[in-house]
């Protein structure tokens, strides 16, 4: 897998020069300043409006008010405000309406609401702009730092290749967990049991040859029979696996994947896999029953577990024999390496 051939590395500096990014930041900040001015203006309107509401509410409390009437821009003269419950309200666009104090307050409150809506929308815009300026700022900083952009083609049509080159990092988590927790443990346990069993068998054979008693001979014979049966069942399992593989190319891929802790859990494959396991368990159960008839009670658990696990062994063997290239191909480039390599380049 040629990593360098697939990905392209562009320095951020060449795409956005720091000066340009700074210019963009300045521009956005200007826009933000404009909005802030507008917001201040609207806030001023709002406070004026609430003050006016307060005044209009109080005016009709008295029949008349002593006030200073402005005369031009220079002078005031004392006067009296009468008709305190009559207002000529400017509705906008040169339209006026005669209103009572109560109605006026209603109008003013509606106006206040409209203003608040405007303030809210302005705030949202400002937030947006601030985020934008932050983004430009970070871009400028990154460009100045000399960050690079890495682009890679995403190969969707060849999942096998992708898997082998080790881009299986973003795996679907649930299935990978399943495989991680299930299969390797099973394999480990299986290997341990097999080792233990080998030891026991050796002991038995030695015992048998040393004592030469009929019972022991029979015992060893039985164990031999058991072995033979196990082997037979294994062979049967193998052939079954092969037939399953022959039946579907997908399952052939599924097998190594499941062993190598890789997910790719589409249902049809799973079903096939499960079907094969089911069949295998069927056969293993049969052989287990046969062996339990002949075998001693102390060894029953072992024989049972061997046979149960034989399909796991079979699958390992079969995958190793059938798809050696896949098994070897997955090893050299582990999932992490690719990313790290490119990080190392920079």
């Amino acid at each position: 897998m040629g990593d360098s051939a697939k990905g392209t590395i562009t320095s951020l500096d060449s795409l956005f020069s720091p000066e340009e990014a700074q210019k963009a930041v300045r521009r956005v900040e200007d826009a933000i300043a404009d909005r802030r001015k507008e917001l201040d203006r609207l806030r001023g309107f709002l406070s004026d409006n609430s003050a006016l509401i307060h005044l209009v509410r109080k005016l009709p409390d008295e029949l008349s008010h002593d006030i200073m009437v402005p005369f031009g821009s220079a002078a005031f003269f004392p006067g009296r405000l009468i008709h305190t419950n009559e207002f000529l309200v400017l509705l906008g666009e040169g339209y006026y309406a005669d209103r009572t104090a109560k109605q006026t307050i209603e109008i003013l409150q509606r106006r206040g609401k409209a203003l608040e809506a405007q303030v809210d929308s302005l705030k949202v815009t400002m937030l947006d702009l601030e985020l934008e300026s932050k983004f430009f700022n970070s871009t400028a900083a990154e460009a100045a730092e000399g960050l690079v952009e890495i682009r890679e083609e995403y190969m969707e049509d060849t999942p096998k290749d992708v898997f082998e080159s080790g881009i299986s990092v973003p795996n679907p988590p649930d299935s990978s967990k399943e495989d991680n927790s299930g299969k390797p443990d099973e394999d480990e346990v299986h290997a341990r049991i097999m080792a233990k069993l080998d030891e026991l068998e050796k002991e038995e054979i030695e015992d048998g040859s040393a004592s030469g008693s009929d019972e022991d001979a029979e015992d060893s014979f039985q164990s031999n029979v058991d072995d033979g049966k196990n082997e037979a069942s294994e062979i049967a399992d193998l052939s079954m696996q092969f037939s399953v593989k022959a039946a579907s190319f997908l399952s052939d891929k599924e097998q190594p994947h499941s062993i190598q802790k890789s997910p790719l859990p589409p249902e049809p494959k799973e079903n096939l896999h499960q079907a094969s396991v089911l069949k295998l368990e069927d056969s293993s159960e049969n052989s287990a029953r046969q062996t339990s008839k002949v075998g001693s009670s102390s060894r029953r658990a072992f024989t049972g577990s061997i046979v149960e696990h034989s399909h796991g062994l079979a699958s390992i063997q079969s995958t190793k024999s059938t798809t050696p290239d896949q098994a070897s191909g997955s090893n050299p480039s582990k999932p992490v390496s690719r990313f790290k390599m490119q990080k190392g380049i920079r």
Binding site: L88, G92, E93, Y95, Y96, A97, I107
Partner: protein
């Protein structure tokens, strides 16, 4: 510095193109300004319409015409405001169309300026290198 006639010609072309581009940009800015104004007016008129609809039948409505307040029929005022809103909306749509047009023109003009710019720069560079 005696500039060659070729250089002078390219420079003149470039200048005319750049001038056209800046004129277009000015137009676009003006369009934005006008549109902003109309949008504000539209908002105001909608507010007025809402208030007028909330008024009673027999409420007194006046219109400020020049220095005088002229009493108006409520229905008439209502109709007037509606008409005004319609007009402003139409105007806004028209301005939108012109803006689109202007931006298209601006983009093409910018491209042409770029095409003029590169030979010009090449010429200048060649003069300074030699």
């Amino acid at each position: 510095m005696a500039s060659s006639p070729a250089l002078r010609e390219v420079q003149r072309d470039l200048e005319t193109q750049a001038n056209a581009l800046s004129k277009l940009q000015k137009d676009i800015a003006k369009n934005h300004q006008v549109r902003k104004q109309y949008t504000i007016q539209l908002g105001e008129n909608e507010l007025v319409l809402k208030e007028l609809e909330l008024l009673n039948e027999n409420a007194n409505v006046y219109k400020l015409i020049g220095p005088v307040l002229v009493k108006q029929d409520l229905a008439e005022a209502n109709a007037n405001v509606r008409k005004r809103i319609e007009y402003i909306s139409a105007e806004l749509k028209r301005l939108e169309g012109t803006l689109q047009d202007l931006e298209d023109k601006q983009n093409s003009k910018r491209d042409s300026v770029c095409t003029y710019l590169s030979p010009f720069l090449a010429l200048v560079a060649s003069r300074f290198v030699i």
